[in-house]
């Protein structure tokens, strides 16, 4: 099963340039036309499931607006947090 991830896009930094949308290998990102940032941009968001947490959106983001998380698999969790 593919890894499951999710992203948080900062309203402070996102300028809606769409570079992450064209770079996303899963094609799960789009501009959120129902939301405006304080600067007046439509920020990027994920509109459906399928994010793997690969962080390619964060690699191309010119404004470092994206924080990427990935769900820890049981094997990784066991090594990362010793009892």
């Amino acid at each position: 099963m593919a890894a499951k991830g999710w992203i948080e896009v900062s309203d402070t930094y996102c300028k809606g340039c769409e570079l992450c949308i064209s770079a996303c290998p899963q094609g799960v990102m789009e501009l959120n036309m129902a939301h405006l940032t304080p600067k007046g941009y439509h920020p990027a968001h994920t509109f459906k499931d399928g994010c793997t947490g690969c962080a390619i959106c964060a690699v191309v983001c010119p404004d470092a607006a994206i924080t990427v998380y990935r769900e820890m698999t049981k094997a990784v969790a066991a090594t990362a947090a010793p009892a």
């Binding site: 900062s10 769409e18 600067k39 690699v59 191309v60 010119p62 404004d63 990935r70 769900e71």
Partner: protein
């Protein structure tokens, strides 16, 4: 036990200030790569940046390091002074093509010829971005800008200057490379080159420069996504990517 695992977050070497760059401008990517490298090397506290005149004139607002602002084109001269007075600090300049390749050509060539132990991040976006997209020394032949409205005519305006190739002929240069910021793979390669350039300086192996092919969506009159395609299809053939000079000592560095 937490089930979430942080994969990527904003570099700590950045301040909280949002950048003033146009949406989709790869200046932001270049800033982010420098910040990530400073974080990874743990040298944020002893780094001094030198900001240019151009779009990156406010770079001192975005990096959580010490910064000085140089007159137009004079960043390598100022960095020379800073580095000679404070040799234990890491000194880098961040310059565009109007700044470095035009008015500052004398400063960069002589700083490189002297082998000053500084790092230069050179952003090549083929025009003067801040002042409204005028023709720069790096503008491609035939490319339309606000001051070459029928396209750059090489008979009267000459050919673009290839800065990396030119500086790589100088003895004082330790590391000189050209990278592009148009896709994730090349962004990662660019980060590696910036890391190598800073490692060169930390080890005292001479002048280091990374030229980054960048976009200017506003002045090129394109969407950010189309501007990346322009870099891939038009700029890379004119400015081939690669390592132009890498001294033997630097080849040993593993990053």
């Amino acid at each position: 036990m937490t089930t979430e695992n942080l994969v990527y977050e904003r570099p700590e070497a950045f301040t909280e200030m949002p950048t003033h760059y146009c949406p989709g401008c790869t200046h932001g990517v270049a800033h982010r790569l420098v910040a990530e490298v400073l974080d990874e090397m743990g040298i944020v506290d002893k780094t001094i940046g030198v900001a240019p005149v151009g779009c990156a004139v406010f770079a001192y607002n975005y990096f959580d390091t010490d910064f000085v602002e140089a007159p137009h084109g004079r960043a390598p001269a100022m960095a020379t002074g800073v580095k000679r007075v404070l040799p234990d600090r890491v000194v880098f300049t961040y310059q565009g093509d109007g700044d470095l390749a035009s008015i500052g050509m004398g400063e960069i060539v002589h700083a490189a010829a002297r082998g000053e132990n500084i790092t230069v991040i050179f952003i090549n976006n083929a025009n003067y971005g801040m002042t409204g997209g005028q023709m720069a020394p790096t503008t491609l032949p035939g490319m339309k800008t606000s001051s070459s409205q029928s396209g750059r005519d090489v008979e009267t305006q000459g050919y673009p200057i290839k800065v990396s190739e030119m500086l790589s002929t100088l003895e004082g240069v330790g590391y000189c490379a050209r990278r592009s910021l148009h896709d994730p793979k090349n962004i990662r390669l660019a980060k590696k080159a910036i890391r190598t350039a800073f490692e060169t300086q930390v080890r005292g192996l001479g002048f280091s420069m990374v030229e980054l092919l960048s976009t200017c969506p506003t002045n090129w009159g394109m969407t950010p996504v189309n501007a990346l395609k322009f870099v891939e299809e038009r700029m890379i053939p004119a400015y081939p990517l690669g390592d132009y000079k890498i001294s033997d000592a630097i080849k040993q560095i593993k990053v």
